[in-house]
Amino acid sequence: MTSALHISANQWRTSVLKACVGTLVARGIAEDIADACLALLALQQNPLQPLLGCLNTFHPSSSDVDGVPDWPDVGATAHLGSLQVLKFGPSIIDMAQAGIVCNCDIDSMILLLGLAQARLHSHDMQLECSRDGTNWQTIDGAISSGNVHSGPETCWLRAQKAQSRTPLNMTNLPQPRREDWVSLQQFADQIMVPADDSNRADAGAGLTDND
């Protein structure tokens, strides 16, 4: 029996997606967060602890229209204030992709950079990030530097010249700690409907099938 945990890229993606949806993150954002985690894994960064931190503090009911940042004109700088990555992370990247320089205090900079990195792999574009709006670096450079904390940080993002997309290298991915993986599964399990005789029949098959 193998004892070491081996989590494939497919398992990472589906488990993160389910965990986010189970926590009532909007599905489209959950899809982006799942891709962000794969982008981080491809750079040998384990996204699980920052993600669990965000899931633990996510409250969907606190979302309201008044908290939504304004969308400025292309070329302007947007000072977005304090934002949760599970609510606005993909929109911040959208904004940067549209040519707006974004400045925000984000609850997980590493996940935001993961979102940016994933976007580079799906679109022909380049993004840069900065902590102070002055010293800019590439997204993968920032992620790989190991200097990005899992907690809140100030982040600047801007688009740079177009760049051809390259596929993610999904071999030899970092493996999670077993207890973290179990925690993620507990979030993911919230999408499941408990089994009973009534919904067992919803599968439309008999309980035995010999011939």
Binding site: D94, D189, N199, R200, D209
Partner: protein, 570 residues
């Protein structure tokens, strides 16, 4: 290839594609038959062309057929091994439901040549299936149950020195049924991306189809082995070997339920590519000016084979049996016309047009039939069925452009009256029992907040409503910042604009939805035949029935798999 090594792109004439509004309807998709583009067909061609060097490297089974066996094949210089674990199973534990916890046989497709430690290490996991733990050297995980009725019959006959009953072989068609074939990173196995660069494996479900083909080889060896042991126990000098004609008539059964249905909704680009290849192949064939003598003769032979197949295709369900009988009648009536039209100019186009007033089943049967003798102009399309990028969102598109896509591709969804209760009567959800997808009544209990994202018309209408009063120059990104709940459907809508066959154009949560149509569509791309629905959510099928076994597979006979039909001696 040209003389300087560059690729020459051969151009083929083609007529206009059938529109998605015709093709992507559930009723039609539920009428699909396998074609020569199906995954098992392209695998057989590849195996025949390149060889597979099948070797049985271990066969440690007791007299009852319980133990382990290993089959080694080589593709592109790389070894792959099917490890089979066969065990005793009480009849009351034998169920094809995904919620089963024990099976007659369990299988692993291993990347490379497994050592004794690998084989014994993996046994405890493979026999637990979903509860086991795997790594990147495990490519596919599967399990199968015996058709006890047929397996016992074949053993008894062979042990007695006789061949089995031909009618029984033809009617059941398999010694074992798989109840799941898992791949692509499930349970820690290798991700598909890890072997996509191996030329033999670049097509969808290639390893899964290879696994099933090797399982078939194992079942044939197993039944001979058990029969020989039984003959010895009975004091006989020896048993009969299962004759080649019967080996070929035995495929592998499969029992499939709702687990397969969400795949078609969840992989829009992949489904587009499958459909687009099928429709492009059809458009090429319809453009052919005249059929050569040999092509026409092949078609005429296929007509007779199809007639025999339909005659032998019997199921227990009355609804499906009525459908088969109607198809059988209509097809037989058409045969003289087919013989005549195949001699005319644009024969294949005329043949399809001749079916236009018939049922979807008749039309789709004709699609499979006219593709079959035209491999030289369509087989290359099989290389275009993969999806390497998936859906993506363009937040810089403006609202006017999004509205245009909705008008062009989602008119069908916008026209559905969602205030009618029957249009939202059902809900797709995932049970905690082995994460099995299920379909239940929305009103029955509180599942709505756990609903799977299959209510496409409802999502589209909600998205369109929130776009309605916006300035047309507003960027989609700005809309999604205010309405993050639309992010998934916005991505889907944009994807469909470039992939017109990506969306099933029916309401999957209406009270009249028949999930079996989704199952049949997907299974037809696998190459399944003899659809035998046990309800509107669950079907049995056969794979590889009539296909050459490994020891007889050649370039000449690898295509001889179209809709199995057998002569039955009574």
């Amino acid at each position: 290839m040209s003389i300087d090594g560059s690729v020459e792109l051969k151009q083929f004439e083609q007529v206009e594609l059938r529109p998605p509004s015709t093709v992507m309807r559930l009723e039609r998709m539920g009428s699909f038959f396998p074609t020569r583009l199906s995954f098992l067909r392209s695998l057989l061609r590849r195996l025949a062309r390149d060889g597979m060097g099948l070797k049985r490297t271990a066969f440690k089974l007791d007299d009852d057929g319980f133990g382990q066996a290993v089959y080694d094949v080589m593709l592109d210089g790389q070894h792959y091994a099917l490890i089979a674990y066969s065990q005793a199973l009480a009849p009351e534990d034998r169920t094809d439901r995904v919620i089963a916890e024990a099976w007659d046989t369990c299988f692993i497709l291993f990347d490379g040549q497994p050592g004794p430690n690998d084989i014994s290490r993996l046994e405890g996991h493979a026999t637990q299936q979903e509860a086991g733990q795997y790594d990147e050297r495990v490519l596919v995980l599967s399990r199968a149950n015996k058709s006890v009725r047929l397996f016992d019959h074949v053993v008894e006959r062979l042990a007695d020195g006789q061949q089995p009953d031909a009618e029984m072989i033809g009617k059941i068609g398999y010694l074992m049924r798989t109840t799941a074939v898992y791949g692509n990173g499930k349970f820690g196995m290798a991700d598909r991306a890890e072997f996509m660069d191996r030329p033999s494996l670049s097509q969808p479900f290639r390893l899964e189809m290879l696994t099933v083909y090797l399982i078939r080889e194992f079942t044939l060896d197993l039944v001979n082995h058990v029969a020989a042991a039984r003959a010895s126990q009975n004091g006989k000098a020896g048993s009969a070997e299962l004759a080649d004609q019967f080996r070929r008539q035995l495929g592998i059964g499969n029992s499939t339920g709702l687990g397969m249905a969400p795949f078609l909704v969840g992989h829009p680009v992949l489904i587009n590519n499958w459909m687009l290849v099928r429709e492009t192949a059809l458009a090429r064939v319809r453009a052919v000016e005249t059929a050569s003598q040999s092509t026409r003769q092949e078609f005429l032979n296929l007509l007779q084979q199809t007639k025999a197949h339909l005659q032998q295709w019997q199921v227990d369900g009355q609804f499906e049996q009525d459908r088969i009988e109607k198809l059988r009648h209509n097809f037989n009536e058409m045969i003289p016309q087919c013989e005549s039209l195949s001699q005319q100019v644009k024969p294949w186009d005329k043949l399809l047009r001749a079916c236009e007033d018939g049922s979807s089943s008749l039309q789709e049967l004709m699609v499979s039939l006219i593709l079959e003798p035209n491999g030289d102009i369509i087989d290359g399309l099989c290389e275009c069925m993969e999806d390497t990028f998936g859906p993506k969102l363009d937040p810089v598109m403006n609202v006017d452009e999004v509205r245009q896509i909705l008008t062009r591709h989602y008119d069908w969804a916008m026209q559905i009256d969602l205030t009618e209760e029957d249009q939202t009567a059902m809900v797709w959800y995932v049970s905690e029992e082995k994460a099995e997808p299920r379909l239940g009544a929305r009103a029955k209990d509180n599942k709505e907040h756990r609903e799977m994202p299959h209510a496409i018309p409802r999502k589209v209408q909600a998205f369109a409503a929130d776009l309605q009063d916006l300035d047309g120059t507003t960027l989609l990104g700005e809309v999604l910042m205010r309405h993050p709940e639309h992010r998934d459907i916005a991505r889907r809508v944009q994807t469909v604009s470039n992939h017109p066959f990506a969306e099933i154009r029916d309401n999957l949560v209406a009270d009249n939805v028949r999930p079996i149509d989704l199952l049949r569509c997907k299974l037809s791309f696998f190459g399944a035949s003899k659809f035998d629905p046990r309800s509107d959510r669950w079907t049995r099928i056969t794979l590889y029935q009539g296909a050459p076994t490994a020891r007889e597979l050649t370039v000449e006979n690898c295509g001889d798999v179209f809709l199995p039909a057998f002569e039955v001696d009574k």
